[in-house]
Amino acid sequence: MDEMDSISTYNEPATESVTTPRDEIIVTDKVPTAMEARNVNVWFNDHHVLENVNLIFPKNSVTALIGPSGCGKSSFIRTLNRMHELLPGAKLGGEVILDGEDIYAPGTDPVGIRLKVGMVFQKPNPFPSMSIGENVLSGLRLSRRKVSNKSDILEEALTNAGLWKEVKDRLNVSAGSLSGGQQQRLCIARSLVLNPDILLMDEPCSALDPGSTRKIEETMMELKESMTIIIVTHNMQQALRVSDYTAFFLAEDGNPGEVVESGLTVELFHNPRDSRTDDYVHGRFG
């Protein structure tokens, strides 16, 4: 319960259901912030898909974004490393604060943001024209970073992604020869090479079998020692297993998606303030 005590407002039961002024993960001064979303709104052309998302992502933690399909979780996670703007018709409102500055401030280089905020996608997507080793180091070439100790970096990234033992003897083989789970861990290793402060994972295990999923979850637990992880997942059990904090997204009756409730994962799952959260985490809809 020590951990719970350090979180100021969580033990207070919600007196009136949804009247918190800002839906956000509230943390004390003891836990520094890695990233903060302030009033993030997302549109595609005139279609408002996400409204006023306020979330704080504490450092060295795993935050899970859960919610039914179409509630805007994936759109939201793409706003955090400026991938959102690459989609046709994309519009944005609000701010995303990283290192005290809005990543959407005029003059900010999106490439620099993506180097600090890495991303792992739903489907494993290793580059087919490159070998395993080249794939891991591809970020260095793509971002034109010169390094002297390539082999050390290669081994470190693969080790941290839990793949080194399996591939160390075939680094020159095409990445297509790996299994789906290995490919996904290769993609994680590829992101780690750039040493990001934050790693975004958009349903990284949805295409994988339980064994591979477990390995990736173990990897995440080790990675959070050195970075902040934000993961979109449809798997409630996974959110419960890996995340420290959870935000529940919901889009109701054609309204834009919003954060219904956010907070410590254990709180949100076992003692939700909002009845909709209760229904969703217990599988009564979605």
Partner: protein, 348 residues
């Protein structure tokens, strides 16, 4: 006691009466057709083929009726019609290939590939001279045309698939419109701009310009299709790893589409390698080797064939057949390479 099972194909088994009926129809109809042809005074092979075709429609329908299935009649008629279409198609191809291969091989001598025609006059024996100058000219002009149209075509395709700028629909429209440009117009354009204006003489360079106008739409459209096959996931991954758009395209998108792009180039080559009209206006033709594509008329296989046929003497017409044969072999080599590469691309 369980019996040891043996694998069979129950869906294929035909009972013996059906087999007999089919045998009777497929063997009997041509015999019947022959009989009808001879007795009715319709003459020749073509008459026989026509009678056979119509008779087969009738007998096949009857066969279908015998099976007592309503659908079977239309099925057998459809089968006969489509088989006939395939037969006609094969007949076309063979009748094009047959004389080229027969006359070409009959008259072909290996030295033809290396010698030029400067010592051959009208009706000179085929033991002297050859078409090496035309073969080299074709390789030079088509090679140059590829050099011009491949980068432009691929960049245009990249504009459509990667940059997706506001001009995208226009680029698509113009590429499509260009593929309808008659080749003689492309030749006239190059002639008017470079030769009639006095900037250049007849040359391989101007010919290559004319050919690249014809190649460009093929290359651009094929390249676009191939680039569209590259999954968007790879582009996202490259950008998420801090790549600029150009570096992502160069390091990830283009390598992923590499063999498809080679196919695009080869299809472009195949499009223009047999073009004659634009070359008559731009390369003109030559009796000897011209290694300089920037200056002076240059021979190519199509113009060589055209000019030898125009001469009309027995030996010159034979030379034309030899050149046609060489051109056909060249085209089939190019196409085989394209198919080989594109089949490897699909596996990857």
């Amino acid at each position: 006691m369980s019996k040891v099972q043996r694998g069979t194909r129950p869906w294929r088994s035909i009972d013996s009466t059906v087999l007999l009926q089919q045998l009777f129809v497929h063997l009997g109809t041509p015999i019947l057709a022959m009989f009808v042809t001879i007795n009715s005074g319709i003459s020749g092979y073509s008459g026989f083929l026509l009678v056979w075709f119509f008779l087969h429609l009738v007998t096949a329908s009857l066969l279908g009726k015998l099976g007592k299935k309503k659908k079977a009649v239309s099925d057998s008629v459809f089968e006969v019609l489509s088989s006939a279409a395939v037969l006609v198609f094969i007949l076309f191809v063979l009748s094009v290939l047959q004389p080229v291969f027969q006359l070409g091989l009959e008259n072909f001598q290996v030295h033809h590939l290396f010698e030029d025609a400067k010592d051959t006059g009208v009706d000179t024996s085929l033991d002297i001279g050859g078409l090496g100058h035309a073969l080299l000219g074709t390789l030079l002009t088509v090679g140059l045309a590829t050099l011009f149209s491949l980068p432009i075509g691929v960049l245009a395709a990249l504009y459509v698939t990667e940059v997706r700028g506001i001009l995208t629909p226009f680029v698509r429209f113009f590429v499509q419109a260009m593929s309808g440009v008659p080749s003689i117009i492309a030749g006239l354009f190059a002639y008017a701009v470079f030769i009639a204006s006095g900037i250049l003489t007849y040359s391989g360079f101007v010919a290559a310009i004319a050919l690249s106008i014809l190649m460009l739409p093929t290359v651009a459209r094929t390249a676009e299709e191939v680039l569209k096959l590259v999954p968007d996931d790879l582009r996202s991954a490259a950008l998420a790893l801090g790549g600029t758009q150009w570096r992502s395209v160069r390091m990830v998108v283009l390598p992923a589409a590499r063999s498809g792009l080679v196919t695009a180039a080869i299809l472009g080559v195949a499009r223009v390698i047999g073009e004659t009209a634009p070359l008559l206006l731009t390369a003109f033709g030559n009796r000897e080797y011209n290694l300089n594509p920037l200056e002076g008329p240059i021979a190519t296989l199509p113009t060589y064939i055209f000019q030898q046929f125009l001469l009309g003497t027995e030996n010159d017409v034979r030379r034309a057949w030899v050149a046609a044969f060489v051109l056909l072999v060249l085209v089939s080599i190019v196409f085989s390479i394209a198919r080989l590469i594109s089949s490897r691309f699909k596996q990857a």
